[in-house]
Amino acid sequence: MSVEITSPRFKDNAKRALADGPLQAALSKVGPGFIGKRTAAADKLPEFDALRDSARDIKDHTLAHLDLYLERFEEKVKAAGGHVHFAVDAADARDIVTKICRDLGARTVTKGKSMISEEIGLNDHLSAAGIEPVETDLGEYLIQIRGEAPSHIIAPAIHLNKEQVEEDFRRVHTHLAPERNLSEPTALLAEARGELRQKFLVADVGITGANFLVAETGTSIIVTNEGNGDLTQTLPKAHIVLASLEKLVPTLEDVSQLLRVLARSATGQEMSVYTTFSTGPRRPGDPDGPGEYHVVILDNGRSGMLGGPLKEMLRCIRCGACMNHCPVYHAVGGHAYGWVYPGPMGSVLTPALIGIEKGANLPNASTFCGRCEEVCPVRIPLPKLMRHWREKEFERHLTPAPQRYGLAVWGFFARRGWLYRPATGLAMTLLSVLGRKKGRFAALPLAGGWTGHRDFPAPEGGTFQAQWRAQRAARNTRHANRDAKKDARP
């Protein structure tokens, strides 16, 4: 899938998503499914919140010593007979992977799910080089045969329904009997298993992502439920791991802490089915395993986040809990965000990776309800980081003109209290008189964006400032009375 960026068109994307019936039906299942499972898993482990603190601290410690842990990781991979390649940007990473494949004479590549692969647009690049990439995670396979991008970081095909999957399978698997029954999800899964089993067995190279890299041992870790990532890395001649800088953790003990919060936050499992620790290539005497082991470590703008206000974003372990709990994601789905990373984590990360000029809409696609921060296993203050981008957007004059003028007018009054108080008081009185009958407005001039979808409540009392003054006056009177009483005591 190419990485065409449509984030600047977020508003159009969102409108289209809201009007898309099948998509809305699929999205209606996101909240109920994921939220309940995560809550149940968290409730079953009394130490869950303390483990989140521990996970946060481990990530912060690692990031503060990233240069040193990267050195050690590289040293340990080499000692185990593997190779480490550093990539400055996406083009660099694509070239490294293509060269490894070419050197091996590879024609087909199986792939475990990797968001880095999506980020660097690897599949198109491999295809152009005459190497066939085959996605093997069921969700990734579904979107690959549809030519789509993932709409969720752990459930890439969450926007599809089973009828769409059946249609695609009939279109693509033309060598199978046309009269076969594919009405049940089990039949679809069995068909995908059969098709992909063949691909696993003949692939020349297997490419996976990494949930974590362990400096202590030079180990890469993938976490899956299907087992596709394991088949991808075990069967071919070479295993290539795509990872970004911040996947590093110091030790096996540290990664155990993180694994205790990852699956619970993602799918509500105690532990995912397959957690696989890979260190170097096949050893002498091993009856299976890849002959070569390569780790490609991608920067692509992340190092620039390390010392700055966005560094907390680098703690992210890609569990997807933030989007699973996000009302905006529930409403518009992942594709509306217009690039690889959707939801709250995408709204912070995307502008950092593709630039605020293209990503400015995303940090605004939030109600600031704060649920993302509440559930984040590494306690990333996502609303704060989105606010950072909103400020940057304003500073760089990227905010749309009407909004800027509106804020300028408001700012003019707000800085002049003697003008602000009577003006707001007048507006309040006017609105409460006009809206007295119904208590709300179905339409208001200049506020169509609000009243187009819901009513605007009519004000019931004075302005906030007026009420504040009244309350303070009342309190002062009470205190004065009490003090007067105290003084009156003998």
């Binding site: 240069d67 040193l68 899964l189 394991d230 075990t234 397959y274 620790f277």
Partner: protein, 226 residues
Amino acid sequence: MTSSRDTVFASVRRALGVTSQEAPRRQEADGRLAGHPRGLVPARAQLPAAARLALFKDMVVAAAASIDHLPSADDVPGAVASYLRGRNLPPTILRGGDARLAALPWHREPNLDVWIGPSDGRQLAGLSHAFAGVAESGTLVMLSGPDNPSTLNLLPDHHLVVLDAADVAGDYESVWTRIRERFGPGVMPRTVNWITGPSRSADIEQTLLLGAHGPRSLHVLLVGGA
């Protein structure tokens, strides 16, 4: 010409405002790598032996796997034969060369065909010996190597795993301690597979289905400790 490696390291160091030569930072990182401090270990991962074993069995079942608790390793061939019979599978199993599996009294099951080697995807049932189990999540810990090929964990439809009850740890950390004792500090086998239940996917309409790419069934043969 500057290599990508140099560019990435330079940019990390610039952002952190460091040179990588600062002694206190190095000491802190080296100390952590050498000391690998345990973090927070949940109470449920620190139970006494009997409760730990009971929790392990519960968690295995909760992960949609099945379990037989056998009095002794000598009962394994019979349990394998009976598992295959119970599921109408041919009496054939592929296993690795693990000495503990080789030492089992296979002659007691004359009708059971036992093959040795890695899987090429054509076998319905595979048998491995686990290095450890972890009670807190019902997880099996498998090490790759000549004795227990990784393909056995992944390709057969039915994966049967022998686990010595004495090797059931409460937490993951205790297993890392054992791996360091076996392989030396900072050294790992090529692959360590943690397996918690049979393969599954919920990628079609979030409906959870077993047997995505790996085994459709996972069956644990827990030996001893009863």
